[in-house]
């Protein structure tokens, strides 16, 4: 499993705490589809910071970084310098 796939599966597992069925397509817009709410957004930030040792800052607040499982994995990869 590639690093990006592993991150996607980790975020999917995390998503499972917030939605009935986390088996969503990797490119599904999690926020636009109304699947998750603002509480998820902040917990997601804390999760990726704790899990991947990265700091999410003002500059990272771009919905394109958090929109989907794929986007989140891409963001984590860029922050880690993968």
């Amino acid at each position: 499993m590639s690093d990006q796939s592993a991150v996607i599966e980790d975020i999917r597992e995390f998503l499972g705490q917030f939605v009935s069925d986390p088996s969503v397509p990797v490119d599904q817009d999690l926020f636009g589809s109304g699947l998750v709410n603002s509480l998820f957004a902040m917990q997601l930030v804390l999760h990726i910071e704790a899990e991947y040792g990265i700091a999410v800052s003002n500059d990272d607040l771009d919905l394109d970084n958090f929109r989907s499982l794929q986007a989140i994995a891409g963001f984590v990869g860029r922050k880690r310098g993968d």
């Binding site: 499972g16 509480l39 902040m42 917990q43 930030v45 003002n58 607040l61």
Partner: protein, 392 residues
């Protein structure tokens, strides 16, 4: 993710915690009722908090704060909460502004505003609630329009804790229909601040209504990014607010318990202290157990906060929900135990009773907490079921 459950203060922090408790008992509690009656906070006690470095203690050290350990901060809120809920409102909202800026501010915002907030030279406050918007906070009606050189804010904010004396406001408005946070100084000529009086509780918390009319701010006043004002900036602030209120409620409940036990052992009826009457013992037992349970939930949230664990948000909601409900019950029972004395403003429990009710409403009402907690519990349950189905 392993969490260190045995929470202890360092030796030096334990001494500070003792100093905080002594400060609250000596310099806050004896005056809290008179501040309550005057509906104003004594500037001297605010200066004392600043001088000790406690008001801005949560700010990063790089900006003049202390990066205070969450457990010591919790103990601080508990100590102040025992003495004056109104005063607790100050580190709560000031800390909300600090946390929001430290977490999501630009370098320039951090360098300009944080040192002032850390030293207590300036006071920060958080402006989210509006005349028509309370629990549905993502739907704020205050509007920000781009002007070319910045933004123009128009709208009203209501019941802003310490709004009367704040120098900086974190304001949530809609920019092109996206919730967006702005950092606005109280000196802005387009901001009118009106004191709010005669509230049920938190009467010396310097509440104010804010009216933004042609309130022009520069481009760099945005805190975070457009669209992230509620989810991330307010989310960070409110999580801190709930943490403070939860710990403060533990303090308030402890105050009720101490006053009840003191009175019940001194007051005699039917030839013996009322503490020997079983129905009084029942009230005291519930008060004691509930206070310990609330403190336990606060400690759980504190452990997660220390670890930067995302579960802290939910556990803080749980702690705030339970602690505020318990504080309200403890204060009702304390008034009952103290009888006429409990109804008199000469003591503290009458004030505890009024303030405790407010804690069930602020930083997310009990009903909103119930919704969040129940949904969380149900999702956790489903997740466990899925796991069992996958790995029977």
């Amino acid at each position: 993710m392993g969490i260190e459950r045995s929470l202890e203060l360092s030796n030096s922090d334990a001494l500070v915690a003792e100093e905080m408790e002594a400060f609250a008992q000596r310099e806050v509690l004896p005056y809290a009722s008179s501040w309550d009656k005057a509906e104003a906070m004594d500037p001297e006690v605010i200066r004392s908090l600043s001088k000790r470095g406690w008001l801005g203690a949560l700010a990063p050290e790089a900006y003049g704060g202390q990066d205070m350990d969450p457990l010591l901060w919790g103990r601080f809120c508990e100590s102040i909460g025992t003495a004056s809920s109104s005063l607790l409102g100050l580190p709560t909202v000031h800390g909300m502004a600090i946390q929001a800026i430290a977490r999501w501010g630009t370098d320039a915002q951090k360098e300009t505003v944080l040192p002032m907030l850390a030293s207590g030279e300036a006071i920060g406050a958080f402006a989210l609630t509006e005349p028509e918007v309370g629990s549905d906070a993502a739907n704020v009606q205050t509007v920000a329009e781009a002007t070319g050189s910045g933004f123009r804010l128009t709208g009203r904010k209501r019941w802003i804790t310490f709004g009367n004396i704040a120098n900086w406001f974190v304001v949530v408005a809609r920019l092109e229909d996206k919730p967006t946070a702005f950092l606005v100084p109280s000196t802005n000529s387009g901001l009118k601040i009106t004191p709010v009086k005669d509230m049920l509780g938190f009467r010396s918390a310097e509440l104010a209504n804010l009216h933004f009319e042609n309130c022009e701010v520069t481009e760099d006043a945005i805190l975070g990014r457009p669209g992230f004002g509620f989810s991330h900036v307010a989310g960070t602030a409110l999580d801190h607010g709930r943490f403070c209120i939860a710990w403060g409620c533990v303090g308030l409940a402890q105050g009720c318990l101490s006053a009840s036990m003191e009175h019940a052992q001194e007051r005699e009826q039917f030839g013996k202290p009322i503490s020997e009457h079983q129905l009084i013992q029942r009230l005291i037992a519930d008060m004691l157990v509930g206070t310990r349970a609330a403190r336990g939930l606060c400690l759980e949230a504190t452990a997660l906060k220390r670890a930067g664990d995302p579960r802290v948000i939910m556990e803080t909601s749980i702690a705030k929900y339970y602690a505020s409900q318990h504080a309200a019950k403890a204060s009702r029972d304390a008034v009952q135990i103290l009888g006429g004395t409990g109804c008199s403003s000469e003591g503290h429990v009458e004030r505890y009773f009024r303030d405790a009710k407010v804690t069930e409403i602020i930083e997310g009402s009990s009903q909103i907490q119930q919704l969040i907690i129940a949904r969380h519990g149900l999702m956790q349950h489903r997740k466990e079921k899925r796991k069992k189905a996958t790995n029977p």
